[in-house]
Amino acid sequence: MHSLILATATRLLLPLMLMFSIFLLIRGHNEPGGGFVGGLVAGAGFTLYAAAYGVSQASNMLRIDPKRLIGAGLLVAVSSALLSLFLGLPLMTGLWYKEPLPVIGKVGTPMLFDVGVYLVVIGVTVTITFSLFEAEGE
């Protein structure tokens, strides 16, 4: 699997894919896209990287154990939901920052929730593919 072309291509592709994934995430609220698809794209990027450079290098680059990434994503998602509860509103009530930000538009807890989804999906994809690579490489 360690082909030079793949390695070079991946080095270029990964940042692009990550940026594209963030683009998908942000635009999802208004156009087709969203946290899930975005997360898949980012996950695919890391998978590609692992295919090119091996799982251990990819893990090093990712820094965080993908299972903890899943936990972190879920934590972000559930925190976004819990915020409203502390204000005496039902769980998951959307809270919005009044002024729209440039580029991103209006910001609120539902978008934070989508970020959680995004992180979980990355964690999931990476967990699955990394452990498969390792298992098949035996």
């Binding site: 969203g34 698809v37 299972k67 994503g73 929730f113 979980v120 967990t127 699955i128 452990s131 498969l132």
Partner: protein
């Protein structure tokens, strides 16, 4: 009164500790409890004899009409005295009999539980709480019969008694509930006043049948009698308690208790006298054929229980009185005789009467008690048994057939009494496995007290009649009744006829005892018929049930996944088709070809073609590729019909799944050609029917006009209130964000599952199945050389 019952359970908890700290005196100390209770009950005698009934009620589940109500009237009191009195003696006896048994503590515990439960039955004034105690006796007697649990015979006998009395318990429960619904109360004292309502009710015969099965199984009436002699596997203290005073009399007690409610009708009379009579004769006839001392006594108990049912069935005041008298007399002499039998067994090492004889020299006290009790059993004056027999004959005088039944039974009882006493204590001393000695005090005390009580009751019959029998009989009749109980009531009229019958009984009985060898020959001749007896049928039913169970499990739980799936599909098809027909669902096919675009049709055809390809594919990779086509085709459908988010996601997921497949496909087995053509056709037929059903349901749902106000709301509020212009995404993260929360949780769990499946390999000692087969790391028993089969 609640304390009286509960103290038994409390004592039971303490019993094992008692045994631990005072092993030698455990029986004696434990006996103090029933003794105290007996004194308490004796203190109630004057009041109850005066016609009072003491009542106490504690709400338990009042919404269901269930209370812990207790009421002591004459009937309860008679039984309560027997239970506590004999209970005390049995506990003492058990302490001696099982002196060296490490499990004695548990035995005492069980006996106390049993006593408390039995007491609960007889003083309950609520049918459900009585039933609770009834079932407690079932459980505790199960444990008691299985006391010698290392022996399979003991376990089997315990199970048998549980099943036979258990089925009765269930019918009784149904009967009791119905009775409660008919009378509107579960309190027995209220119910007793509503007998008319019950007897006139259309459900009367059903209730009667249900209650009778309960009573008959518990009281070992023919044809349910067989469990009782088998219960002889239990140690003697248990037998003595079970068979003399208590558990087996619970059924009789129930009939007596409910006599004012259910009794007096023709069905009642007929069924009770018929079953009771049959039991009397069968029991006594089988008794005299036995050679095991305990079995002889057990069968005479069966016969005695029959007599009680028989007398209650006759139902006249005279007969009910006879029943009460016989209850007392039988409890006294049978309790004594069982304990005597136990002592004999304990001291000689055998219970076989053909190996016993002349024990009166070695065991004088036991022999004296045994002889006295046997005389009472044979019905000789001046013992209480004589009076019991006299009143019994008086009760039967009107009907020749009743006289006949009683006469035969009593004659055979005389023989049995002889076998259980003369045969053992007189004649030539026989050589026994153990050298016989007199039993210790704890073991002769019980028989002596009981035998003397039989004598005393005979001599003081008038007082016993006034204090106990009279009030008890009144309770059974349902109204106060003066009772006269005399040892000698002259030779005039009925009394004379009864006396004459007694004499005949004795003479013929003695004659039969002399000619007893014929019973052995009859038993031998009848042996081949044994499998067709009641127990044979019991065995057949149990075996049949086991066979049915095995067959059903083989059929339904056969291990074939596709069979299970087929069953589910079939069930779905049957149920939905049934409802489609019953509900007269109209199916319209809106075949509007003009509305179909050609490219849509092509997508549909691609999906269908790819599907067919996958089904027919012979290689894994081809199948996966085909599946991908189906998935992308579906994504196209989403795209064509305004679902861009769906399409993107479907494309992404499809790709990911394809990668997954490719990564593991070589680790997956190649397609085998495994199923037979028949199996294929069968599953194809089912699958096509299932598919057709879903098409049908789709069409049906499409036929209903739909205006979803929900969707409308979501679309209209998405931008202004949720600040998102992609309505689908807003639904996912806001309107129905909690679905997504669940969804990502599923994803996370799946990932962890995959990780664990791939990485976690248990050490062989954890994996018992694998360890046996393959020692290698991942445990691949037959890894095949895989080639790429594209």
């Amino acid at each position: 009164m609640l304390t009286a019952v509960l103290s038994g359970f409390g004592g039971a908890i303490a019993a094992p500790w008692l045994h631990r700290f005072a092993p030698r005196y455990a029986g004696w100390i434990a006996a103090l409890l029933p003794l105290a209770l007996m004194i308490y009950f004796i203190s109630l005698v004057p009041a109850v004899a005066g016609g009072e009934a003491l009542r106490f009620s504690y709400a338990w589940v009042p919404s269901l009409g269930i209370n812990l109500s207790f009421r002591i009237d004459g009937l309860s009191l008679l039984f309560a005295l027997l239970i506590t009195g004999i209970g005390a003696l049995v506990l003492i006896y058990a302490g001696g009999y099982l002196a060296n048994d490490p499990m004695l503590g548990r035995m005492l515990m069980l006996l106390l539980i049993f006593m408390a439960a039995m007491l609960g039955i007889v003083i309950s004034d609520n049918l459900i709480s009585m039933f609770v105690f009834w079932e407690l006796t079932t459980i505790s007697s199960y444990m008691l019969i299985g006391y010698k649990h290392e022996y399979e015979k003991a376990r089997k006998a315990a199970l048998q008694s549980l099943l036979v009395t258990g089925i009765g318990g269930l019918t009784l429960l149904a009967g009791v509930v119905l009775l409660g619904q008919v009378t509107g109360t579960l309190e027995i004292s209220d119910m007793l006043t509503r007998g008319e309502v019950v007897r006139a009710h259309p459900l009367y015969s059903a209730i009667l049948a249900l209650v009778l099965v309960g009573a008959f199984t518990k009281s070992a009436q023919f044809p349910f009698h067989f469990w009782l002699p088998n219960a002889m596997e239990a140690p003697t203290p248990v037998s003595s308690y079970l068979h003399s005073a208590t558990m087996v009399k619970a059924g009789v007690f129930l009939l007596a208790r409910l006599n004012p409610v259910l009794g007096g009708t023709e069905v009642w009379q007929l069924s009770l006298t018929a079953f009771g009579g049959a039991t009397m004769i069968v029991g006594s006839f089988l008794a005299v054929q036995q050679t095991d001392l305990k079995r002889i006594l057990a069968y005479t108990t069966v016969s005695a229980l029959g007599t009680l049912v028989f007398l209650i069935g006759i139902g006249t005041d005279e007969a009910l009185k006879a029943a009460m008298v016989f209850t007392l007399s039988h409890a006294l002499y049978k309790g004594a005789l069982f304990q005597v039998a136990g002592s004999v067994d304990h001291e000689t090492g055998t219970r076989d009467i053909t190996h016993l004889g002349g024990l009166r020299a070695a065991m004088p006290i036991t022999a004296a008690a045994g002889m006295l009790a046997a005389i009472s059993m044979a019905g000789l004056p001046p013992l209480f048994g004589f009076i019991a027999k006299e009143v019994q004959y008086k009760a039967t005088l009107k009907e020749p057939i009743l006289i006949g039944v009683a006469l035969v039974t009593n004659m055979l009882t005389v023989v049995a009494a002889g076998l259980a006493s003369l045969r053992v204590f007189f004649g030539q001393p026989a050589h026994t496995p153990k050298h016989a000695h007199e039993a210790p005090l704890s073991m002769w005390l019980g028989p002596v007290v009981l035998a003397l009580a039989g004598l005393g009751a005979g001599l003081l019959s008038a007082q016993v009649g006034n204090a106990l029998i009279g009030p008890a009989t009144s309770s059974v009749i349902g109204k106060a009744k003066e009772i006269e109980l005399l040892l000698w009531s002259g030779i005039e009229g009925a009394a004379g006829q009864a006396l004459a019958l007694s004499v005949v009984t004795l003479v013929v009985g003695v004659g039969l005892y002399q000619a007893r060898s014929i019973f052995g020959r009859i038993a031998a001749a009848a042996a081949p018929l044994a499998p067709w007896g009641a127990e044979g049928w019991y065995q057949r039913i149990v075996d049949g049930m086991l066979a049915l169970a095995a067959w059903q499990t083989r059929m339904l739980q056969n291990g074939y996944l596709r069979f299970y799936i087929g069953l589910i599909i079939t069930t779905t098809l049957v149920l939905t088709t049934f409802m489609l027909i019953v509900g007269r669902v109209a199916i319209t096919v809106p075949a509007d070809w003009a509305d179909v675009r050609i490219y849509e049709l092509m997508v549909a055809l691609i999906i269908l073609a790819a599907t067919t390809f996958v089904i027919r594919a012979t290689s894994r990779l081809a199948a996966v590729v085909g599946l991908g086509f189906v998935g992308y085709g579906t994504a196209l459908v989403f795209l064509l019909f305004s679902g861009p988010d769906l399409a993107i996601t479907q494309f992404a997921v499809e790709t990911l799944v394809a990668i997954l497949f490719v990564l593991v496909v070589y680790r997956l087995p190649r397609f085998g050609n495994l199923s037979t053509t028949g199996a294929r056709v069968r599953s194809a037929a089912l699958a096509i029917a299932g598919g057709a059903l879903m098409t049908l349901l789709t069409l049906v749902a499409l036929a209903s006009p739909t205006e979803s106000r929900v969707s409308e709301f979501l679309a209209e509020n998405s931008a202004p209130r949720a600040f998102g212009r992609n309505v689908v995404n807003v639904i996912l993260v806001d309107f129905r964000g909690f679905d997504t929360m669940g969804e990502i949780t599923v994803l996370g769990v799946a990932a962890i599952g995959i990780y664990a499946l791939l990485k976690l390999v248990l050490a062989p000692e954890h994996d018992e199945h694998k360890a046996a087969e393959a020692p290698s790391g991942d445990g691949v028993p037959r890894e095949r050389a895989e080639t790429i089969d594209v």
